[in-house]
């Protein structure tokens, strides 16, 4: 049995607890990036899901909204229907990577609300509606004198989106993080516990 224990130890060492190890689990994550939704799909950090099939459905009704395929870098970007974002329903993005590998990611209604004209006072769409006469090539700050509030909001919104995108990405990745040492040791503990239980049952009889 000593040898078998040695094998377990060697395997733990080999597994290295790295992201590389979770090859058979497929990860999807998506976030709102300015006026579109960015979807990223990967098996491991270095191995992206190329040409994986994506289906986007309404989280509440299950109705299919659109289909897509990831590119060579495992990315897919789409602009959701503004009318849908206003319904207050979430989105469910399902990835089918083949070989029975499937994963999903849910986008909450709150996140989608930022894409609607009402939720997004900062968006260019809203700005255009509020001030149709505004000429956008005149960058506020350079033109100096009067900065329309809507323009300013649009600008801040854009900058914030750009700054927050990596943080959103990181948070999403963290939610998809693979097994750590605690899980591995815990699992082995469970198996030993079950062994103890079985032995106990046997000798009680």
């Amino acid at each position: 049995m000593r040898y078998c224990s040695a094998i377990v130890t060697v395997l733990i060492a080999l597994s290295g607890f790295s992201g590389e190890s979770q090859a058979h689990k497929v990860n999807v994550f998506a976030y709102v990036d300015s006026d579109a939704i960015q979807v990223e799909c990967y098996f491991t950090r270095s191995q992206k899901v190329r040409h994986g099939k994506l289906i986007v459905t309404d989280l509440s009704t299950g109705e299919k909204l659109l289909e897509g395929t990831t590119d060579e870098r495992g990315l897919f970007r789409f602009q959701p229907d503004v009318a849908f974002c206003e319904t207050g329903h979430g989105m469910n993005i399902v990835l089918n990577a083949g070989e029975g590998h499937q994963g999903n990611w849910e986008i909450s209604p709150e996140e989608l609300a930022s894409l609607t004209p009402s939720g997004q006072n900062t968006g260019p769409r809203r700005a255009a509606q509020a001030a149709p006469d505004t000429v956008y090539s005149q960058v506020p700050g350079i033109s100096g004198a009067t900065i329309e509030t809507v323009e300013l909001e649009a600008l801040i919104g854009k900058v914030m989106d750009a700054k927050l995108a990596p943080i959103k990405q990181r948070l999403a990745r963290q939610e998809n993080s693979g097994p750590d040492l605690r899980d591995i040791i815990g699992g082995i503990g469970w198996i030993i516990g079950l062994l103890g239980l079985a032995t106990y049952m046997k000798y009680r009889r």
């Binding site: 377990v8 597994s15 070989e99 032995t199």
Partner: protein, 201 residues
């Protein structure tokens, strides 16, 4: 080789559970308490083995080691894999609870078949022993690929297409697991031959 949650139809999922339940029931009736520790240790080996990523071939693959378990455990491979896969589903989110039946059967059944096909070779001379262990390790993976493709084929992907992809992706693993099984058996035959006594049962 873990099929994800939601990839299979309810009929296939129930069939998987029914087959796994039946096989686990038979195996628990046959279990040899003297070999309980071996069963638990090999379940741990499988549990951890799936984390070892093998950077070979076109797909993303990891060690399965179902052949090694099947070789030493026989029928006990069913409860052993059931527990290990349940823990992987809960702790690592590999596979899932709904597909647990299918995943257990896919990996355990070929291992059991290989156990009976190759175990008589283990009691023979060194050459045959190594060949038998290699065959058991490699063919168990091939069988698991076949069963997984079958489960997917019943759902939507089409059996031929998925079988081809899964089989190709696992060729390096078949060879590697054959070698692992062969090395393990020849090492145990030298150091602890009593562990191979099951070949005479």
């Amino acid at each position: 080789m873990h099929i994800s949650e939601g990839a299979l139809s309810p009929a296939v999922l129930s069939a998987g559970y029914a087959l796994t339940a039946a096989a686990t029931f038979i195996s628990l009736r046959k279990i040899n308490y003297a070999r309980l520790t071996t069963t638990a240790v090999l379940a741990s080996v499988f549990f951890v083995g799936s984390l070892v990523h093998v950077p070979l071939g076109p797909g993303s693959v990891h060690l399965i080691l179902n052949g090694l378990l099947g070789l030493f455990l026989g029928w006990a491979v069913f409860p052993s894999l059931l527990v290990a896969l349940l823990l992987q589903a809960i702790l690592f989110q590999f596979g899932g609870i709904a597909v647990l039946g299918v995943n257990t059967f896919d990996m355990a059944f070929p291992a059991l078949v290989c156990h009976y096909a190759f175990r008589s070779m283990l009691g023979k001379n060194n050459m045959l022993r190594v060949a038998g262990a290699f065959g058991c390790g490699a063919l168990s993976v091939a069988g698991a690929a076949f069963c997984t493709a079958l489960a997917l084929g019943f759902t939507d992907e089409g059996f031929r297409a998925s079988a081809k992809i899964i089989f190709m992706a696992h060729i390096p693993i078949m060879i590697l697991e054959g070698v692992i099984a062969a090395l393990t058996v020849s090492f145990i035959a030298k150091s602890r031959p009593e562990l191979l006594q099951f070949t005479e049962e």
